[in-house]
Amino acid sequence: MAPPMVTLSEAIERARSEDRSVLTEIESKQILAAAGIPVAEATLATSADEAATAAAKAGFPAVLKIVSPDVTHKSDIGGVKVGLEDEAAVRAAYDDILTAVKEHQPKARIEGIAVQAMARAGTEVIAGMSKDPQFGPVLMFGLGGIFVEVLKDVSFRIVPLEDRDAREMIDEINGRAILDGVRGGEPADISALAGLLLKLSAFAEANPQVEELDLNPVFAYKDGCIAVDARIVVGETT
């Protein structure tokens, strides 16, 4: 059973009642998907059986991730399992994740486990939004992995963006050539990435309650792109 789609205001209300400002991955993805942003959809499972059914429906290999308002760095505490090839593996992973999370964060509230099909690997990029005290919502784009972690190879634009701004911010990163495909690798679909940035801009403009937004990573393919993980941070008050 897929849970009903959550709206941003419902998710914010729920987050406030639980005294948190970070929406869960499932909430974040549902909200972004409704805004036309390509995300790897995830289903909430609250039992190993539900997880196995959801995985079979989404397609193997599957990825399972803990859904908890208290866990922000999921993989650090064993809250993520990838490459699960069949239902048996999914059931085992479900139990392993719960055990690991309970061991590391006994007090974490656990809503369940997110089940999604493992996205085919593509060129890793990141996109996000934060607020600048002078300019308001600002979009960021960069290459994922070490490029963002170590080299801080990212570019910025002020919301609202026009098509030209989206393309210029993609072209501006130092590692731009990587998006053309390296050593015979698959090139990234620049139009799809620009389209994703424009959708993010429209989303940020329409939803001032959103304080920060992270799509990390986004996999870029030769035709299209998809956000594999997503996180929305909302303001303290409306």
Partner: protein, 476 residues
Amino acid sequence: MPDLTQRLDRAFNPKTVAVVGDKRAMGYMWLHSMKAFTGKLYSVQIDPAEIPGIEALEVPNYASLAEIPDDIDYVICAVPRPVAARIIADCAKKNVGAVSLFTSGFAETETEEGIEAQRQVTEIARENDLLLIGPNCMGIHNRRLGVRHSPDQDHGDAGNVGFISQSGTHCINFSLIGATHGIKCSKTVSFGNAVLLDAPDYIDYLAQDAETDVIAIYIEGTRDGPRLLRSLKAAAARKPVVVWRGGTNTAGSRAVYSHTASLAAAPEVWSAAMRQAGVIETDDLDETIDAVKALVYCKPATGKRMGLVAMTGGQSVVITDAFEREGMDVPLLTPASYEKLASFFNIIGGSYRNPLDAGGTIGMGFVPGNLKKLFEILDDDENVDAIAMEVSGTFIARRLRDNPSMMDGLLDILSEQRERSAKPFLAVTHPSHVEDVMADVRRKLLDRGVAAFTSFHAAARALSRTTAYWARRDGA
């Protein structure tokens, strides 16, 4: 304010100006500066000790704005802070076009009294819909009308560069130092604490001002980033805009939840906004002057391929380095050009692949016919978008310094090249042991309309930036 443009037009082009509170201790700087004003100038001063000095300057003095038997388009208010609110109220009563509050000691002092005094004048101005410039500023300069910030500013003829500045010093310096680089200001404004009118208001005004072809701006920050971005973008779509930002923003102590927030450091965001607006971003006065100089003196062009002319081998190498470092290209010329060059170019101690090591061929104007031919070849060459040339102090010292007619001949060839060619032309008076001579050459070149720069790097950087501006605008 829908009629803000018209109201600013009145203030920037005044027929009547009143200076309130000028005094001996300031050397009557405002009245001295305003002596060049083509309209009617009045003084307001109640201190009997100051009045003889004002009368000696032949400026009619009154005890209050109300007593002046004339409408006043622009007021310069230089009274002590405790009196400022009263004068602002008088301005409102008199229905003046605008008042610029030179008086300082307001919110910039970060004291309670200063903040309160600023609140008072702001409130009076706002309630009465009075155009208040500043406080803590130099206000308006109009070169054509002789409305000046300093007696050293030129006046009478029209300029075509507008300057908008948060700082009074940079505002005056841009016009004074810019003038030594051939830049003539149309209108400038120093806007200080910007309690009512802020940078975007002045940008919008100069963007539509027919007298202003290029806008340059010194700014330290903004209260309303999106509005600044909109104004800059709209202005840059009409005419070139150069933005020099002073100061850096320390990142706030906001909680960092994600990569995005930790990486969105303010300077990067500012630069992103400037790129998004399509303006030229600079870091200091020199860069600002150089960019404006290229915009004013060089024909607009979008191509990056340079034809370079230097007098020696060493200079050929470094002029090429300078342009390539700034993202310009130095391509091979067409076969047709090489054929023509081969017919007369002196390759003993020279070469002409591009860069052209042409000292032996043109002798820095000693062989004027060859220099003309060389320019014509580069002009006709379809691989070349812009031309830059070293004007060598060594050659000038050796051959032209004591030969004024030959020097004039060289300057004429350069200015003819500038006029004839559709390609940007830059002359570089490279640093030299005869700097006084070179300063004179540079001034003469600028007088003849030739963009003359003080270093290869300065020329390359300015052209690279202006080329990017025109290319982005053309691509819009």
